[in-house]
Symmetry: D2
Subunit: 298 residues, 4 copies
């Protein structure tokens, strides 16, 4: 059976009585069925409580008379959004929506390592990642044949310290031209500038260490020297503070003294690609809210 078209709403608001009922009631009054709902109330050490909710709404009845009445005569997505904005203004809430029939467009940035690249494309082809991957961008030509094998346009933009501003501008231009909604750094071995991150859509990075331990370069060598018994990987949104962005997903694998740094790299590669795939999936399913330095994954 084919799934109905769904709208997925993410809402963040200061906590207040009646929030679940009012948000659910909004869709109920429009005759739209809620397929899935989850919420969380955060009690920070400072400041007031914060409320977060994810609602998956069946849009089948959006054309009904009941929806028309609730939405002020129109039954377009625009009308739905305008009406929901009205409620959110009352609640001092921020919100966003994604529609299941408009798959996000993802650009992969890679360098020379292929594991994460293959992994993401194969998952997307198998239907695990609800997105399109219209372009791959790299600072090296190494992976062009792989991209070609999958028939994804490949843009090679080499970079040096001197040409970095221009190269980043070229990337931004590509992202704009291809209407990219999400950038995934699938082992892209370049630090992105503040300027780039401010102008780009959200960027997810995979760090091959169990952050916040082992920030910076060669984390497996650091981990080996320190004699840790578990190694990990961390997927996070890229921010101007390197390796400090909000963490979306992490996982670890056990290692022993028998495994030198090279072996750790091998074990770590399996962790990295699973962690990155889970993080990208959570973002594409519109489950991730950023709250300060943390994420709420609903």
């Amino acid at each position: 059976m084919s799934s109905p078209v769904r709208a997925i709403f993410l809402v963040a608001a200061p906590d207040q009585p009646g929030l679940v009922a009012r948000l659910a009631g909004f869709f109920s009054e429009a005759g739209l069925n809620i397929l899935d709902a989850s919420n969380h109330t955060d009690l920070p050490e400072e400041g007031g409580a914060r409320f977060f909710m994810r609602l998956v709404v069946d849009l089948t009845a959006l054309a009904s008379a009941r929806a028309q009445q609730k939405l002020g005569g129109s039954t377009t997505r625009k009308a739905l959004e305008a009406s929901f904005q009205g409620l959110c203004t009352e609640l001092s809430a921020t919100w966003s929506v994604r529609y299941s029939d408009v798959p996000p467009r993802v650009a992969l940035l890679v360098t020379r390592e292929s594991a994460c690249f293959y992994d993401l494309v194969l998952r997307q082809r198998q239907g695990e990642l609800p997105c399109e991957i219209p372009i791959v961008i790299s600072n090296h030509p190494t992976l062009e044949p792989v991209a070609e094998g999958f028939r994804i346009p490949f843009f090679c933009l080499p970079v040096t310290a001197a040409t970095k501003p221009q190269q980043e501008a070229q990337i931004l231009e590509l992202l704009r031209r291809h209407h990219i909604d999400l950038v995934v750094l699938a082992r892209y071995m370049q630090v992105l500038s503040d300027t780039f991150l401010q102008e780009a859509p959200p960027v997810i990075n995979i760090h091959h260490g169990f952050l916040p331990a082992f920030q910076g370069a060669k984390p497996y060598h650091q981990a080996h020297a320190r004699g840790v018994k578990l190694i990990g990987a961390t997927a996070h949104y890229a921010t101007k503070d390197l390796d400090q962005g909000p963490i979306i997903e992490q996982d670890v694998a056990r290692v022993t003294h028998q495994q030198g740094p090279e072996e750790m790299v091998r074990v770590g590669r399996d962790v990295e690609r699973i962690v990155l795939a889970r993080a990208v999936r959570a973002h594409l399913e519109h489950r991730v809210l950023v709250e300060g330095r943390r994420t709420i994954v609903l």
Copy 2:
């Protein structure tokens, strides 16, 4: 800060439009704030979709005029329940409620092994398990000093094949007299009869195997002979079909060829007590719905 008194509702109903809004709306109209809500819709291979919801409601405003109006003049818990029953009848829903200021009363049944016994009592004393443990029942005197050390009344009821019906009747009498809400088999090495299970409150058992593999006796020896690489434990509600009741929680630990059955017992003991504690906690927090042979843990 002390937490407000909360009512925790669990609801199961045939899926239908507007359920989240109607259930949340019920409390909202009475002026009662929803502190936490989660729901799940199950799509079985046969039969229609089923909807499950857990609502944690702040009862602080139960004495308010608004609640009084919604609940037909009275603001007792009885009135709240009667009014909620009215809604659930409309929705063909079943439901149950637990109040945070009425901790469930748990009886532990043990035999000679102390690990799970110690573990549960220590967790309860540390505030991890929201319950009282007014009695311990055993078919052996071995653990009486431990119960005494914790000042929990200990009832020793030895049992043989011939005296089983009488012994089980004695246990039932103890459960009744002490108003027991939940029985936990913390390594109680006796099979309970159908008759007992029908008359007793819910019973949670810990099986030292990764069910459904290795049912029956000596699961670690079975596991060793089969050469498995992981061993596990399963906490489930006891039903008349031995080792077949709905699973609440499971976990595993890695073993190697180096570990004989005795060593597996040792590794398994750690898994058992953690799995049992998690399952008991989920039950006490009123998170577990039984749906046929499965559980939904909200």
Copy 3:
């Protein structure tokens, strides 16, 4: 730095005093350095203790005068093996050897699912799996383009109940002609006959269930119906008893009531390919001894 050529010996013997010293002494007397050694003594419930040892020996000094003297004048691998056979006869030991400069030749058998296929080939290309993959055999043409992309000859041998004996004979002929040392069933959806298994080299299969639970077809649907909280995968040597062969590796992943059978398939796919890769790697590194229904992985 390039590694020296190594011989990896696996030995199994009835336990007896002095085994470690005698086996290690054999190589020491020939002037051959032991790079790595591990052993295990198994104490079965029936029968006497069994001893297992893996020795990784540096062959650099095989041409030395000292080796020549110990090996009876010759310093070929054949002479080394003959001399070691002499010792093993004294010890009533069985043994086998693999040389690091003679990578095993692996045939992949696939049907239509590509995840395990891609995974194994990519790992081999990255140097994680010390082997060659000279052929891929399938009963369906689906994955031919993938094999072609990797430039691995692809043989499509469709099969029906009526043609099974002939098809299996064709596979055996291909295995022989290409000097295959190991067959990996990377989601090959056909049961292999006893006859085939007796004539073929070792066969490793991946079962998408946590054996011995959920043998047979549709294990994820079985697992979902039973309401388990963890799903798993098992890599084992194929034997005539379906899903009963010696287990090489297993792992699990956590699932909840929220995940229907399809979602379990997705989660399970990640477990399957990691478990299969680990098992194939252990076999290729000559770490796996089969002892009755179990494996010893040194």
Copy 4:
């Protein structure tokens, strides 16, 4: 069946040809059977390769004529050690030995938290930890009744900044008087001075964070603020550099945004006690070699 008396040797040496054969041969020539042997060669980035070996030797034949001959006429443990020292001098090796019939004597240092304290004592009573626990030392009287319940002498030595030198001297005196071989800090909430650590037997500490992340105080609060998805615990030898000693064991547990710092403390407590118990067990079984900032656990 009762196990034979065993000697467990740990050896560390610069790597050189023939080490396994010479070390195993030493015992073989004395007619002593090796029950278990494992070794590891470490290839550091700087300096030469290092070799580590653990040998478990059956002492049953120590009184035999053959042993007498090899050990120069005497068959005492002292003679065995003197003879082995001779070999180790030739190999430039360091070594240590522990005998299975001389259980190490462990002092527990605690403050007010009981979870790790209960856990270690219960494991010791169940035979999981091959040691004696003759004393418990605390800076608070809180856990005295628990120690009394287990009939372990309890020494309460309160401490302030001003009295620290005297209090540590008192602890050292207790350790000496009770012939303590190992100190376990089972949530002892005081930093120990350099002076103390230099004079005390080995000290194992449990840090409730996944070191090297979250060093210092309140690691769970740090972890929550950073939004990590896994929390961990680390058991390590205490050294003068706080939280920097060689790591013996680590593990993690998954957390979500739903879990505030208090809930993390609860989840972490389970990880802590399992990690600490594993580390203490490895030390007691004479498996741990310290190599610079790392440990080798054979």
